[in-house]
Symmetry: C2
Amino acid sequence: MAPPDFDEAFRERLHELFVWRRDVHHFRSETVPDEVIERLVRIASLAPSVGFSQPWRFVRVDDPARRKSVIDSFERANADALSAYDGTDAQKYAGLKLAGLREAPVHLAVYCDQETPSGKGLGRRTMPETLAYSAANAVLAFWLAARAENIGVGLVSILEPALVTQALDVPPAWQLITYLCVGYPQEVNDQPDLLRAGWESRDPRATTIIRR
Amino acid sequence: MAPPDFDEAFRERLHELFVWRRDVHHFRSETVPDEVIERLVRIASLAPSVGFSQPWRFVRVDDPARRKSVIDSFERANADALSAYDGTDAQKYAGLKLAGLREAPVHLAVYCDQETPSGKGLGRRTMPETLAYSAANAVLAFWLAARAENIGVGLVSILEPALVTQALDVPPAWQLITYLCVGYPQEVNDQPDLLRAGWESRDPRATTIIRR
């Protein structure tokens, strides 16, 4: 395979991909074909991983009872989160749509297998947390590949991880990284929802290079 | 700004980007212009973050004494890691080049600000670890954008994080996510080094979709 020669036109499109990637919580009803999800998982598995450990595990959740357990967990955790805000923040929080669990045609839980022998522990002796970061990277790879197919992805982290893991009946050594809602988005946008809703603005510290 | 229409040609190039992204430890000597690093950090800051918290902090390390502290830390941690392997694994490990800290023209430590007020805690009450995952996502965004400019990035996690943080004199609430070596690569490849070196093979569990 000849090495690719990435040009300025590609870099501009890649920049657009980053700009127009969104955390999607409003989905259209039509489903995403199975083979598309399978392709996105294969692309996700090209993500970097510490010591080539490839610790991500994708769990597709279709069973209505299991989905209900996840939705119930979100609703409890979300109500609890709301109760921690006061005044304007509480009003704003109550108006945010933070998950599309009921509408999304595809549910994918992403786990990190903390006991995988793959990679033989290389690179994570002093920083074992890099194993979970590797699984988080597979999530972003999935997300970018999905956006390039005009498929929306929404991450749900307002969940009780132990209860979700129990509801999905996966090994206890698997650590929940996030829960993905996947489907065709109702709209596309180049600005984060939380920015448009006035919840948070761009943080200049995120683009500041500190010199040492 | 009109929404982009990502087409099959772009998706093929994006797939090549994932396939040809590598963890680079062999660098050419010429440096990367400052404005390129600044652009890559701006693109990285388009990464998704929990509650729009944008917790990543980029620390560029040029001071020779600080760099030496990092290199010393790597060498200690790497020797310690080697001593944990036996037989063939020890032989193989000893032959791997796991960091290009001496050759890389640009050193960038990436931190997660665990005390950032940005995002007001949204989305991370039950899963606070998602803040670090957000910073890890900025690393992957930086990496992909760099590869699209034919710039190599190598991650170093074989480090003593507390000592590195002390050497770089950053706030104690900042958590080291990884340490990046950045520069032009000596070669490009479509297969991971650790696969080519026979350290680890592709794990079929990484591409298996489990059904629930």
